[in-house]
């Protein structure tokens, strides 16, 4: 397997890089598709007009934020509060932005705008191990385009199905578990040294301890705390 991933981590052409990104994201659709269908159903129940519910998937394009919006609309929350809540929920994407920024530094502006629009949890997770494995690869950004596009297309179809068809999901199949499992498959191989293992464990502990905070703030603070710990530990080792 190591031999296999070593080959695919250095795609030589644009299309090879694009499809590498698509393939890395595909397993997540097992979890994302039901999530998207449920969003469509929840959005319909909240009273959002069907066209707005469908287009929200490309205008906002952020799963948990879209669920939150549907919920706040049904509660009749004030507009400013909705925008603020969505901003807080999506704060963690700034971390992804900081993480990929050095890797995208040389791209033209239109590429930076497009890849920013596509920078979700899933697309970032699927692409980042490959991007870091070959940071100087001149076609590396096509990996992120592939994973970003694959998630975008699947999310549009799933949320559309939810809005148009309503909930018709197989009961009892825990498909949503595909998402954490794919993240495990991505993170565990990245735990290559003691500091990274400690950072991962700290992030897990903090995220669970802070899970009561609203708007996924616990997740964001946990990531920041674990990052700070990582910086302190790595400085101590290499002064």
């Amino acid at each position: 397997m190591a031999h296999n991933s070593a080959m695919t981590d250095h795609p030589a052409s644009r299309s090879a890089a694009f499809w590498l990104g698509v393939r890395a994201l595909l397993p997540m659709h097992l979890g994302v598709a039901p999530f998207g269908v449920i969003y469509g159903v929840v959005a319909m129940k909240s009273g959002i007009p069907p066209l707005a519910a469908v287009l929200m998937s490309s205008i906002v394009f952020a799963g948990s934020a879209q669920f939150l919006l549907a919920q706040l609309v049904s509660l009749g929350a004030p507009a400013l509060m909705m925008v603020g809540a969505v901003g807080v929920v999506n704060l963690r994407h700034a971390l992804y932005s900081a993480s990929v920024a050095p890797l995208l530094a040389r791209l033209p502006r239109r590429w930076k705008l497009l890849l920013s629009y596509l920078l979700t949890d899933e697309a970032y997770a699927a692409a980042i191990p490959h991007l870091l494995a070959a940071p100087a690869n001149s076609v590396g950004h096509w990996i992120l385009l592939g994973s970003g596009f694959a998630l975008w297309a699947g999310w549009q179809l799933a949320t559309l199905a939810g809005v148009v068809l309503g909930a018709q999901l197989p009961e009892g199949l825990p498909l949503d578990f595909a998402l954490p499992l794919t993240f495990i498959a991505i993170v565990v191989p990245m735990l290559t040294d003691r500091v990274r293992i400690i950072v991962a464990l700290a992030a897990c502990a903090l995220a669970v301890a802070l899970s009561g905070l609203p708007y996924k703030l616990g997740l964001f603070i946990a990531a920041l705390g674990a990052l700070a710990l990582g910086a302190v530990l790595s400085r101590r080792r290499r002064p």
Binding site: P27, I59, A79, A98, P174, P180, M190, A200, S211, A231
Partner: protein, 101 residues
Amino acid sequence: MNIWLVMAACGGLTFLIRLSFIALEGRYRPPSWFVVLLPFVPVAALSALTAPELLLAAGEFRPTNPRLWAGLVAIGVAAWRRNTLLTIGSGFAALLLLERL
């Protein structure tokens, strides 16, 4: 309240958050403590995103939560074989098995 205006504002804000550091790159010199943090972002952020899915069931930690043990199986398989499909397959198999116990 106009839903279209709210959606446009939410979409614009989400996009700006995602664009933030990508747009700033090259226009400022990030402090050294910030650069030291960056290699840990994937591990820290994705761990924080995933841990509650495994460790909490309906907001509470329960040692009998099948997802906790299925997740540990998947972590073990991922560490052992470093293979995505094998990790997902073993995690699913473990969950389906444990849910039937």
